[in-house]
């Protein structure tokens, strides 16, 4: 009724959540990633400072600006060499459909980039369609296969994920089809929970030996990445570097997931902007910045986010959710099917149900047909290409002939928080706040 006021504390959505818990006895599980309105400092709180009189810009569409990206130069005999600094993150076959996995592999290969297996082992078609494939070794070890590992171009030892650091993922029963169950050695239709801890090591000292085992298993040929959910990033990055990582991946709290308790997506980890700043600081403090490469992930949406992350210290970025959106995630098509699962285009985070209306996060053969591999691959290629052009445009405007030359000095902070977190001056002040 007009004039009635709802509570700011017990807002209508909170009331609905409490009553749903009271009625079902279940906590909320869903996919996608945090839905919170971002009130923390983000890449949007930074702006680039292009060349004027103090620096000379490169011609925006003509002059060469290298995007070549080399990762794993510390110990591996064969560092991976990519044409661009934007890569596809690990997402499992199981969370994603077969068509989605193959489309991502083909799209990444066409763009000169890499893709990553995920928490379910490698698909043969994924390897065949990849140019550079990163093989994830996760706590669950689902589908672990030494032969697949030895086919990979890099190994990623995953300690945690940005969307849910400190816990394992879920693959609910509707997605544990006969093929997925066989791949993961599970009963068909079971609600699969991935463990939070690796089965054969616990702390950073043991991890040193695990990294050495992975090197022995791959003849010291390929880089070893260590992936961290962004939590105590400063300490974790130093420990991962000490453990012998060639490359450290830091995944911020804006990262996505196929399914996890909603509270993890909303209330754990630190934002990607803060994570990249802490990671760089950690590597600088132990004298390994530049020697250990840094990949940043978690809510990277476009070339602008990627360029800002690189200016702050990342050598490359992973995208996950953005690549799925390129495949038509949340697109206003098949709208009746969105409604059938209680979602709507632009407001669908129902990856956990396995009823993805656009055929990405499903194992249903009929739904999967809605994602045509070649068309999907082309869209992924296009997104990676445009993101790279965006990074190049900003780099040229800042006078850089290589996107990896972007640096904190190329940016200013729009907010006090961003200034304090990133250690760069607040606009209009020439002061770094909090230092």
């Amino acid at each position: 009724m007009p004039g009635l006021q709802t509570s700011g504390i017990f807002a209508p959505r909170i009331i609905e959540e409490i009553q749903a818990k009271a009625e079902s006895g279940l906590y909320s599980i869903r996919g996608f990633g945090t839905l919170r309105e971002r009130r923390w400092a983000t890449f949007d709180d930074l702006t680039f400072l292009p060349c004027t009189l103090t620096r000379i810009p490169l011609e925006g569409y003509r002059e060469n600006c290298s995007t070549r990206t080399v990762l794993g130069t510390r110990f591996a005999k064969k560092p991976i060499q990519l044409d661009i600094p934007v890569m596809i993150t690990g997402m499992s076959w199981g969370a994603l459909s077969y068509n989605a996995k193959v489309a991502l592999a083909k799209g990444a290969a066409a763009a000169g980039s890499s893709n990553t297996t995920g928490d379910g082992g490698m698909l043969q078609a994924e390897r065949e369609n990849s140019r550079t494939l990163i093989y994830e070794v996760l706590p669950s070890r689902y589908g672990i296969n030494i032969h697949h590992m030895r086919m990979a171009d890099a190994i990623e030892l995953t300690i945690g994920q940005g969307a849910k650091p400190g816990t394992g993922g879920l693959l609910l029963g509707s997605k544990v089809s006969d093929r997925i169950a066989e791949q993961r050695d599970l009963p068909i239709g079971v609600d699969q929970r991935s463990p939070a801890r690796h089965p054969d090591f616990l702390g950073p000292d043991d991890m040193i030996i695990k990294v050495e085992e992975l090197r022995e298993a791959t003849d010291w040929q390929v880089p070893i990445f260590i992936k961290l959910g962004a939590s105590r990033v400063y300490d974790d990055v130093k420990l991962a570097a000490k453990a012998g990582a060639d490359v450290i991946v830091v995944d911020g709290m804006e990262g996505g997931t196929g399914a996890s308790p909603a509270i993890f997506q909303e209330h754990t980890g630190i934002p990607t902007l803060a994570a990249v700043s802490e990671a760089r600081c950690a590597l600088e403090d132990i004298g390994l910045y530049g020697e250990v490469q840094l990949i940043i992930a978690g809510g990277i949406r476009d070339g602008v986010d990627a360029a800002k992350a690189m200016a702050l210290g990342a050598d490359a970025c992973y995208i996950g959710t953005a690549s799925l959106i390129a495949l038509n995630c949340n697109k206003p098509i098949y709208e009746d099917d969105y409604r059938a699962i209680g979602a709507a285009p632009h407001a669908c985070h129902h990856c956990h149900t396995g009823r993805c209306p656009v055929g990405i996060t499903t194992q249903d053969p009929e739904l999967m047909k809605r994602l045509e591999v070649e068309q999907g691959a082309e869209r992924v290629r296009n997104l990676l290409h445009v993101m790279t052009l965006e990074i190049q445009m900003l780099a040229r405007a800042c006078g850089k002939s290589d996107v990896h030359h972007l640096e904190p000095e190329d940016m200013a902070a729009l907010t006090l928080e961003a200034s304090a977190i990133c250690g760069i001056p607040l606009v209009g002040t020439r002061k770094v706040f909090g230092r």
Binding site: R141, P199, A217
Partner: protein
């Protein structure tokens, strides 16, 4: 048969020597003085028989496919982890996470196994003549886990479809673990398995197969969101 003396050599050098012998078609290799080094004989991908004349550190025989690894002493953490097939035999005792995440093959431990034996195992069989520590069988998915002695706390916690047998006492069962009756003929099969893999000297001190306790998942955790499962069943 070829021999490698590990004295003064790193794990990397020892493994390189093993791989060179395998490349030269050697089928039986003895590593003398292994000195409990880590990561020995990992990722051996054929049926070579490798005998370590001493103890091994972490991850010995990890990620193998088809090899037969024999450790005359004890093994550190994660022995045989993630193996695809083959046999790993530890004549002494094994550290934490023995046979973690194995997908097939056989792991035999003559002594005791520490914590998290067979954690996340996905197939194969694990046989321990002695006792095992806490959380053995945690989140184990498939395969068979046999402990002839006593099992520690939280045994068989949160399992999927692994079947466990314990000859001695169980300190306590983990979440969702239940004692089940053996099916007709199951004790005979267990006896055959034990006889096939354990020396008679170790078998003679253990209870009869029919007296082992069988432990499986109670399956209450298999589908923890039953409301949605009803929907999924219709969707499937």
């Amino acid at each position: 048969m070829a021999e490698i003396d590990a004295t003064g050599r790193t794990s990397r050098e020892i493994n390189a020597a093993i791989r060179q012998l395998i490349a030269d078609s050697c089928k039986e290799i003895t590593v003398r003085n292994p000195g409990a080094r880590h990561n020995l004989a990992v990722a051996i991908l054929n049926d070579t028989h490798i005998r370590l004349a001493g103890s091994a550190g972490y991850y010995c025989g990890g990620l193998i496919d088809g090899a037969a690894i024999e450790i005359e002493g004890s093994a550190g953490w994660g022995v045989a982890e993630s193996m695809l097939s083959g046999t790993v035999r530890v004549r002494g005792s094994a550290g934490s996470g023995a046979a973690a995440a194995i997908r097939d093959g056989t792991v035999v431990i003559h002594g005791d196994a520490a914590a998290r034996l067979g954690v996340s195992m996905k197939g194969g069989q694990v046989i321990v003549a002695g006792d095992c520590g806490y959380m053995a069988g945690f989140m184990a998915q498939k395969g068979t886990l046999i402990v002839c002695g006593n099992a520690g706390e939280a045994f068989a916690d949160s399992m999927y479809a692994t079947v466990c047998y314990v000859g001695g006492t169980i300190a306590n069962l983990g979440t969702d673990a239940v004692i089940a009756a053996m099916d007709p003929g199951e004790a005979d099969h267990l006896e055959e398995t034990l006889s096939a893999h354990l020396p008679a000297s170790l078998r003679s001190t253990k209870p009869a197969a029919a007296d082992f306790k069988k432990v499986v998942a109670g399956r209450k955790l298999w589908n923890f969101d039953k409301r949605e499962w009803r929907i999924w069943r219709e969707a499937l």
